[in-house]
C-alpha cells in the first residue's frame, strides 16, 4: 500500500478507475449474458437486488452523514428499528402511509438528535452513544409492541409510464415503490451535496479538521448536530421502508443486523454515497443469487455454504480490490472549543 501512495497521481487515478471500469464491464456482460439465457429470472434477481439493497443504502447514508461530519454512528440498527416501529404504529392508528413514513423519519431523526446530543454536547464516546441507541431501541420496541395490531396496507410500486415498459431496466428500475425511488435519488443527491456544495464542503471540513473549520467561522457543533440528525432521518426512512414498504408489518428485532451491515457497507464504500451504493448492490445481488440458487436447486451442497456467499464475497472484494479506506480524520473525536 505504501508503494501505491508514492506512485504518480495519474497512475493511481487510472488504477482506481481502471478496476471500477473492469468491474462494471464484467457485471454488465454477465447481466446481458444472463438476460439472453433467461430474461425472467434475470429480472427477478435484479429487482430483488434493488429491494434488498434499499435499507442497506439508506442505513449507509445515515452513517455517512454523521461520519463525514466527524461523528461515528454505530446506532444505525437502533435508529432503523425504532423508526420501523413508530412508522408501523402510525400506520396502524392513522392508516395514512404518508403520515406513517413521516413519523418513521421523524423517529429516526429524534434518535439522531439524541446521538448528536450525546456525542457533541455531552462529548460521550460515540461508540457508546450508538450502542445506547441500539439497546434502547431493542428494549423499547420489544416492551411496547403488542400483538394483534394490523396495518392498513403498504406502499405499492408505481410504474413510471413508458420507462417501465423498457426491457430489463423497466421492471427492475422503473417499477418500484416510492421509498426505493427516493433512495436512488438520495444516493445521487447525497453525492452532489457532499462533494459539490458549500454545505458538503463545510461538513467534510468539520469531519476532517474541525479546528481549522472553526477558525474559518464554521459552527462545528451545529454542523455535527444537523448532519447526525439528518442521518437519523435517513435511517428512519430505512426503518419505514422495512415496515411500510417491504413487509407491511412490524416484528420484534426485525432489522436483524441490517444496521450493522449498513455500517460495514459505508466503510466498504469508503465513506462515499456512490461507493456505498455499489457495496450495497453487491450484497443485494449475492442475497438474490443465494435465493435463486436454492430456487433452481442448482448446487447440491448444504445451503449454509451458499448462505455465506454474500459475506465471503464482501471480504474477498474488500481485501482484494478495495483495500485500505481512510475515514474522515476527526471521525469519532469530540470537538472541544478553545
Amino acid at each position: 500500500m505504501e508503494a501505491a501512495a508514492t506512485r504518480p497521481r495519474e497512475r493511481a487515478f487510472l488504477q482506481r478507475y481502471g478496476t471500477l471500469t473492469a468491474v462494471l464491464v464484467v457485471a454488465l456482460a454477465i447481466i446481458i449474458w444472463a438476460y439472453t439465457a433467461s430474461a425472467q429470472q434475470t429480472q427477478a434477481v435484479l429487482a430483488s437486488t434493488i429491494r434488498q439493497s434499499t435499507p442497506l443504502v439508506l442505513g449507509a447514508l445515515c452513517g455517512l452523514y454523521g461520519e463525514r461530519a466527524g461523528v461515528i454512528n454505530i446506532g444505525i440498527e437502533g435508529q432503523m428499528l425504532l423508526a420501523a416501529f413508530i412508522g408501523f404504529l402510525a400506520n396502524v392508528y392513522t392508516g395514512n402511509l404518508i403520515v406513517a413514513v413521516t413519523a418513521g423519519v421523524l423517529a429516526g431523526a429524534a434518535m439522531g438528535l439524541f446521538l448528536a446530543f450525546m456525542s457533541v454536547t455531552l462529548k460521550m464516546d460515540q461508540i457508546i452513544g450508538g450502542t445506547v441507541l441500539n439497546i434502547l431501541a431493542f428494549g423499547l420496541t420489544g416492551y411496547f409492541y403488542q400483538a394483534g395490531l394490523t396495518t392498513q396496507g403498504k406502499l405499492q410500486p408505481i410504474a413510471l409510464g413508458p420507462l417501465a415498459d423498457l426491457p430489463l431496466v423497466g421492471p427492475v428500475l422503473f417499477n418500484n415503490p416510492p421509498i426505493t425511488y427516493l433512495t436512488l435519488l438520495l444516493v445521487g443527491i447525497s453525492h452532489y451535496v457532499l462533494f459539490y456544495t458549500r454545505w458538503g464542503l463545510r461538513t467534510r471540513a468539520v469531519g476532517e479538521h474541525p479546528r481549522a473549520a472553526d477558525t474559518l467561522g464554521i459552527n462545528v457543533y451545529k454542523m455535527r448536530y444537523i448532519n447526525v440528525t439528518l442521518g437519523g432521518a435517513l435511517a428512519g426512512l430505512a426503518g419505514a421502508f422495512l415496515t411500510l414498504e417491504a413487509v407491511g408489518s412490524f416484528e420484534r428485532s426485525m432489522t436483524n443486523g441490517r444496521g450493522f451491515l449498513a455500517l460495514a457497507i459505508m466503510i466498504f464504500g469508503k465513506w462515499t454515497p456512490l461507493g456505498s451504493w455499489g457495496a450495497a448492490l453487491l450484497i443485494g445481488v449475492t442475497y438474490a443469487l443465494n435465493t435463486q440458487f436454492q430456487f433452481l436447486g442448482l448446487v447440491d451442497i448444504p445451503h449454509q455454504f451458499i448462505g455465506t456467499l454474500p459475506y465471503v464475497l464482501t471480504i474477498v472484494v474488500l481485501a482484494g480490490f478495495v483495500g485500505r479506506a481512510r475515514p474522515p480524520a476527526a471521525d469519532g473525536v469530540p470537538y472541544e472549543k478553545e
Partner: protein
C-alpha cells in the same frame, strides 16, 4: 446553569422517546414537559409523565391479573395450575408459542385452572424456566418447541408429580444414553404432528391452483424438523396432483436466531419468486413466512398458503391472497392433553395431534368442487396410509 440544562435536556429526550412510543398507543400524547423547575426527581417524573397512559396488553393480561393473587396456592391439591414455557421468542408470536398458549387458556377456562407463562429469552434458560413452575407446585407444564425436549425430559425426573406436555417433542423409542428410570417416562407426552401430511395437502391444492405451473415455498430454516417436513410434504403433494409442476423453494440463509424473525427477507424472496412466474407461495417460517404472505397479498392473481394455524386469523394483512393454511392443530392438542392430565388419564409417550387445511374463507367459491373432492380424497388417503408423503425424518 449549563449542567442543569444538560440534565433537563437529557430527561426531556428520554421523555420524547417515551412519548414517541407511548403516545401512539395511549390517548394523551400531548403533555407539557416544558415546566423545567423543581428538584431533579420531579423533573424526571414530569418528563416521563406523557407515557403514563400506556397499557401493556399481552394476550392474557386479564386472566393473569386476577390470578396473580392466588399464585401461591399452586402447591395445594385443590388448585390446578398450568405453566407454559415458550421457545426463544414471544408468547404472541402468531405461531406455535401462541397456539400452545391458546390451548392452555382453553383448557384452563374449562377446568377453572390457573395459568402463567414464561417467555424464554436465552436457550440456556429452558431448564431454569421449567424449574420455576416445578418449584411452585404447578400441575402441568407445557414446553413449546423441539429445542426444549432435553430440558423437558430432565425436568420430568426432577418433578415426577408434574405432567409435561412437550409440543413438537418427539419421544424417541429408545431411552437416551445414561437414562435412569422407566422409558418412556410416565409424565411426559410429546405432542407431535405429521406436518408432512399437512404440507402434502397444501401442495396438492397449490398444484391444482397454479396456472403458470410454478409454485414457491418460502421457508424458515432446515435446522427445525417440522419446517423440513412441511416443505417435503408440500413438494410431494404438488407433484402428486400435477406431475409437471415446477417448485421453487428456499430456506432462510441465516442461523436459527434470525431464520424465523426476518419478514423482510420473506417478503423480498416471495417477490423474487413471483417475478419468475410463481403464482402460489407457501410461507412456512414464523414471521419470515408471514412477511412472504403479506408480500403476496399485494400481487394480483397470486395465491398464498399459511402455516401452523389458520393464518386468516393471525395475519389479516394476507387476506387478499390467503387461500388456506397448512395447519397443525396445536391448540386443541394441548387442551386435550391438559384435560387428560386433569382427569388422571395422561397418555405418555408420543401423542399425535391433528393436521389439516384451514377453511378457505373468502376463496370458498374460487376453488372448484372437483378440487375440494380431490383434497378430501387425498386427506382420507393420507389418513389410511394409501398415500405416502415420502418424507422420512432422520
Amino acid at each position: 446553569m449549563r449542567r442543569v440544562t444538560v440534565l433537563l435536556t437529557t430527561l426531556l429526550l428520554f421523555s420524547l422517546l417515551l412519548v414517541a412510543c407511548g403516545g401512539q398507543v395511549g390517548n394523551e400524547p400531548e403533555a407539557e414537559p416544558g415546566a423545567e423547575v423543581g428538584t431533579e426527581t420531579e423533573a424526571e417524573e414530569e418528563a416521563t409523565e406523557p407515557a403514563e397512559e400506556e397499557e401493556e396488553t399481552e394476550p392474557a393480561a386479564e386472566e393473569e391479573e386476577s390470578e396473580a393473587a392466588a399464585e401461591d396456592d399452586c402447591a395445594s391439591e385443590e388448585v390446578f395450575c398450568i405453566g407454559l414455557v415458550t421457545d426463544v421468542g414471544e408468547i404472541d408470536d402468531k405461531s406455535f408459542n401462541q397456539s400452545a398458549w391458546e390451548g392452555v387458556q382453553a383448557a384452563a377456562e374449562e377446568l377453572g385452572a390457573q395459568t402463567e407463562y414464561i417467555e424464554t429469552r436465552d436457550a440456556t434458560d429452558y431448564g431454569p424456566n421449567i424449574a420455576l413452575f416445578g418449584d411452585n407446585g404447578y400441575d402441568v407444564i407445557v414446553t413449546v418447541g423441539f429445542a426444549l425436549g432435553q430440558a423437558t425430559l430432565e425436568a420430568s425426573q426432577t418433578y415426577p408429580d408434574v405432567d409435561f406436555i412437550g409440543v413438537d417433542q418427539f419421544v424417541a423409542p429408545e431411552a437416551p444414553e445414561g437414562w435412569e428410570g422407566e422409558w418412556p417416562p410416565a409424565n411426559v407426552a410429546g405432542l407431535i404432528f405429521p406436518e408432512d401430511q399437512s404440507g402434502f395437502m397444501a401442495g396438492a391444492l397449490a398444484g391444482m391452483l397454479t396456472e403458470s405451473n410454478t409454485i414457491a415455498a418460502v421457508l424458515g430454516t432446515d435446522l427445525v424438523p417440522p419446517v423440513v417436513a412441511f416443505k417435503e410434504g408440500y413438494e410431494a403433494g404438488a407433484r402428486y396432483v400435477n406431475e409437471n409442476v415446477e417448485i421453487i423453494s428456499t430456506y432462510h440463509p441465516g442461523g436459527l436466531d434470525v431464520a424465523f424473525t426476518d419478514p423482510e427477507w420473506g417478503a423480498s424472496t416471495a417477490a423474487q419468486a413471483i417475478d419468475q412466474g410463481a403464482d402460489v407461495v407457501f410461507g412456512a417460517g414464523g414471521k419470515t413466512g408471514n412477511g412472504a404472505l403479506i408480500e403476496v397479498a399485494s400481487h394480483e392473481g397470486v395465491y398464498c398458503i399459511g402455516v401452523d394455524t389458520d393464518q386468516w386469523l393471525t395475519v389479516p394483512e394476507a387476506h387478499p391472497c390467503l387461500v388456506t393454511s397448512a395447519m397443525k392443530l396445536i391448540t386443541p392438542g394441548v387442551a386435550e392433553l391438559i384435560r387428560a392430565s386433569h382427569d388422571g388419564n395422561f397418555p405418555n409417550g408420543n401423542y399425535v395431534g391433528d393436521v389439516g387445511l384451514a377453511p378457505f374463507h373468502d376463496f370458498e367459491d374460487e376453488i372448484s368442487q372437483d378440487a375440494k373432492d380431490r383434497l378430501d380424497e387425498i386427506k382420507s388417503g393420507l389418513e389410511s396410509g394409501d398415500i405416502s408423503t415420502g418424507y422420512n425424518p432422520g
